[in-house]
Amino acid sequence: MEPIISIRNLSKTYASGLCALGNINLDIHQGEIFALLGPNGAGKTTLISIICGLVNSDAGTIRVDGHDVHADYRKVRSLIGLVPQELATATFESVWSTMNFSRGLFGKAPSPAYIEKVLRDLSLWDRRDSRIIALSGGMKRRVLIAKALVHEPQILFLDEPTAGVDVEQRRDMWEMVKKLRSEGVTIILTTHYIEEAEEMADRIAVINDGEIRVVEEKSVLMNKLGKKQLTLTLQHPLTHIPSELGEYSLEILEDGNVLVYTFDTQKEHTGISELLRQLGKLGIDFKDLHSSQSSLEDIFVNLVRK
């Protein structure tokens, strides 16, 4: 199936000389939640700003649903809704009028019924006559989402959607995003919150210094790059790793009281049972053991450091 967004050889250097993006190639599939994960200044916002028409690129092509973003800008932009990172709102307008403005701007006939639906879905209906300046930060964020959805887009860009949002509202937003995906909307979110990508995304691209380091299914990424560790708390401290255990990836921690075995989740045999038998033979007893897997955060940190 043709990707809904196809980016080829995209690059962007700002007038200041900062290379924000370098030769980006990326495909995003219809109906998925795609997370662009990267530290501040990695190029996430530049990338989505170019797709949405806010920033000019230096080179490369972008096609959205088969349409070129420049040649067919009307078609492309009518498919896209954008929720910016900043709380940029018409502060003196009411929620209702700003929704009408957004719908009209995207070439849609007035539809009070649809606007009501969107406002109700985002728990803003009771505040429809309020001026935006009177709303809380969380509500303003929801107004931005409502504005992005009011022209019924097929693709929704969320640029750092939960920045400055409290835990409860963050959970609500995640639920809303999943609901939109179930309705067929493709969602691209940028975030530097690992847990956000881990919670929501189907696929993840890690971007740093304007380059995409990896693009993978979330589960594949975690399996491929994730390490699993077996941690043994010993009865008696070890001063060194016995030569008989040289074939295992072992590490002594906490003054010899903890032995950590790192193994590859991709391999068929983890080697755990053999290691435990060897430890028994060598008389190394342990009083506790547990295993753990690298979080997406660990994977991210490793990729960004490379």
């Binding site: 009408n100 403005f101 009209g104 701007l105 070439g107 007035p110």
Partner: protein, 253 residues
């Protein structure tokens, strides 16, 4: 054409006018009324006729132009500058609208507001001064062309400005002096020869002269030339707006 977008921008901008009625409409009318009282009723009664027209009536086209130029520029410049300042411009830039549609929406609203103010000023002037309009259709045409052209000019200022001071600097430092020195309160024929020639480099002379002709049938310069000057300035503004949108100057990084 994305007519819904044009309508959305126009309605949004006009709603700002109704929301700030005192500042948007009442204030310029009050200011112009004070001019009528001071220069028309008070001082004007002691002044002689100019070109056979009572002084109080003579200054009406100039005062009208003074107000409309300032209003057209400030309305349009603020209309596009404020979304840039607040960040909401992202929505216009990411919407399926052409530059022409954006310009029609913003400039159309600014020009409409100026025309409303112009009509109210004329009605208010009637309270203080007796005047006639010899060519009403031409008067409306001149006012329309002027408000559209200077709204375009204001739109360019709003796109160019990157702080509030720059928004004010051209109307205050350029347009107001040019209007005062462009024959708003006198006929340029009253000036010495040298200054008459210098004054002809002031584009506002042609606007005021053309508008005064539509009122009283007298003009400092040929009315056809006045019309041509407005059209030339409008075309220059359109070309500049086209270039700004084409290059993304001060709009896109």
């Amino acid at each position: 054409m994305n007519f819904y977008a044009i309508r959305a921008i126009y309605v949004f901008e006009m709603s700002r006018t109704w929301r700030t009625l005192m500042e948007s409409i009442a204030s310029p009318i009050l200011t112009t009324s004070l001019y009528f009282i001071v220069f028309g009723a008070a001082i004007g009664s002691r002044m002689g006729d100019i070109d056979g027209i009572a002084y109080a009536a003579f200054i009406i086209p100039g005062l009208l132009m003074l107000s409309l130029l300032g209003e057209s520029i400030s309305n349009a410049s603020f209309g596009i500058y404020f979304p840039k300042f607040s960040g909401t411009i992202y929505e216009v830039l990411s919407a399926p609208v052409s530059p022409l549609e954006v310009v029609i929406g913003y400039v159309g609203a600014a020009a409409s507001k100026s025309m409303i103010i112009g009509a109210l000023i004329l009605l208010t002037a009637r309270l203080f001064v007796d005047y006639q309009i010899m060519h009403p259709a031409w008067m409306v045409s001149f006012l329309l062309l002027t408000t559209i052209t200077f709204s375009l000019f204001g739109f360019i200022i709003g796109l160019w400005a990157d702080d509030f001071q720059k928004l004010q600097i051209i109307p205050m430092m350029v347009i107001t002096p040019l209007t005062f020195l462009g024959g708003a309160f006198y006929s340029i024929n009253m000036l010495p020869d040298f200054w008459q020639k210098v004054t002809l480099f002031n584009p506002v002379v042609y606007l005021i002269s053309g508008l005064r002709w539509s009122f009283y049938g007298v003009a400092d310069v040929n009315v056809g030339f006045s019309l041509a000057m407005i059209l030339v300035f409008m075309l220059l503004c359109l070309a500049l707006v086209w270039w700004i949108f084409k290059t993304g100057y001060r709009l896109k990084t």
